[in-house]
């Protein structure tokens, strides 16, 4: 059918669901890398040292800020869903989802402030 048949997706809450999904996938992809780095400590600290020095590069730090954003977003999005599904209904979910995104952005911002 036409490209315009998916108009129901032009909605902040649909976007919230999409971001929740994508942030979850990104975090799941990151987790093995995270464990791999932790594993470096086991075989003597040398390689870990090298890695930690690399992680002080500005670009890598910026990416860490992104990670904080994704993590907070996924956490708050998950809490919102648990709330919807387990407690009496509360309206204004668009505003709540927006607030979750703002808080996540603020968390990432403060994280970067501390790092730089």
């Amino acid at each position: 059918m036409s490209a315009r048949t998916l108009g129901h997706r032009r909605d902040p809450l649909w976007l919230a669901a999409l971001l929740h999904r994508l942030s979850g996938v990104a975090l799941a992809a990151f987790l093995p890398v995270h464990f791999l780095v932790l594993g470096l400590a086991i075989g003597g600290g040398g390689r870990l040292e090298g890695f930690l020095r690399w992680s002080e590069e500005p670009l890598v730090r910026l990416a860490e800020g992104g990670l904080v954003f994704l993590f907070t977003l996924h956490l708050l999005g998950g809490l919102r869903l648990l709330w919807i599904e387990n407690f009496p209904w509360r309206g204004g979910q668009t505003g709540i989802a927006l607030l979750a995104a703002l808080v996540s952005a603020a968390a990432a911002f403060f994280f970067l402030l501390i790092l730089f």
Binding site: M1, S2, R4, T5, L6, G7, H8, R9, R10, D11, L13, W14, A17, L81, I84, E85, N86, W89, Q93
Partner: protein, 243 residues
């Protein structure tokens, strides 16, 4: 195809599943509904156009179509309120097979009402006195919030979980099951809980709220389904339904 200032270019889906959009020019009038546009085309341009409507006042739920990508009740949707520019695209409801032109085949939708046990199972006969349900009882209030459904299928067409799993019972059937679950006169709840907790039941719902966003009667199937999720979990934990 351009259109004069007092005209609109209306693209309609023509044919079955493998159809295509065809453009028509329709005069713009005051207080025109989307259904009026379709009717005008059928009366004056092409009498073979197929579409469905009955009440024209938002009661029967038969006139739902996809209008510029969103499912809407066309008899109560004013063109002036949704028009952006001079074009409008109208197709059959999504997530359902197409019979012809703008008429979607509603059978899968209603079959799911049956599968969700959306049928009242009376616990009394007509020989007994009518049940007394206090308007302020918690059950009655829960049922009230979900009861005004007109079976239009709009929520079903807007639900991506239906799009991804064609067997998912969908928001309307589950919303109906929720009203019956809260009906003190009904005795079918054991079976109903089993029906809505199965593989294609309420746990398919991702709480996107697309159904709630589009329901023309301002119902909230997401909330009803959340209620079903809680009730089915409770029934599972207390051993009333198997996993």
């Amino acid at each position: 195809m351009g259109s004069a200032p007092d005209e609109l270019e209306v693209s309609l889906w023509r044919g079955g599943e493998a159809g295509r959009y065809e453009a028509y020019r329709v005069p713009l009038k005051e207080n025109q509904t989307v259904l009026d546009l379709v009717t005008w085309i059928q009366r004056y341009l092409d009498p073979t156009l197929s579409y469905r409507f009955a009440c024209r006042v938002g009661m029967c739920g038969s006139c739902a179509m996809t209008v510029d990508g969103r499912p809407r009740w066309t008899c109560r949707t004013l063109v002036a309120k949704i028009l952006k520019g001079r074009r409008l695209e109208i197709g059959p409801l999504q997530n359902l097979p197409v019979i012809k032109d703008l008429a979607a085949d509603m059978r899968p939708f209603f079959e799911k009402w049956q599968r969700a046990k959306g049928v009242f199972a009376p616990s009394q006969t007509r020989r007994e006195a009518p049940a007394k349900i206090p308007p302020q009882s918690a059950l009655r209030i829960a049922a009230d919030a979900a009861i005004e459904c007109i079976n239009c299928g709009i929520c079903y067409a807007a639900c991506d979980s239906v799009r991804w799993n064609r067997d998912y019972l969908g928001p309307a059937a589950l919303n109906r099951a929720w009203t019956l679950l809260n009906d003190a006169r009904d005795k079918g709840n054991a079976e109903r809980l089993r029906a809505v907790s199965g593989k294609d039941g309420c746990h398919n719902c991702h709480s996107h709220q697309s159904c709630e966003r589009h329901c023309p009667k301002a119902l909230n199937p997401t909330a009803s389904i959340a209620g079903l999720k809680r009730k089915t979990l409770e029934a599972y934990l207390t051993g009333r339904i198997a996993g």
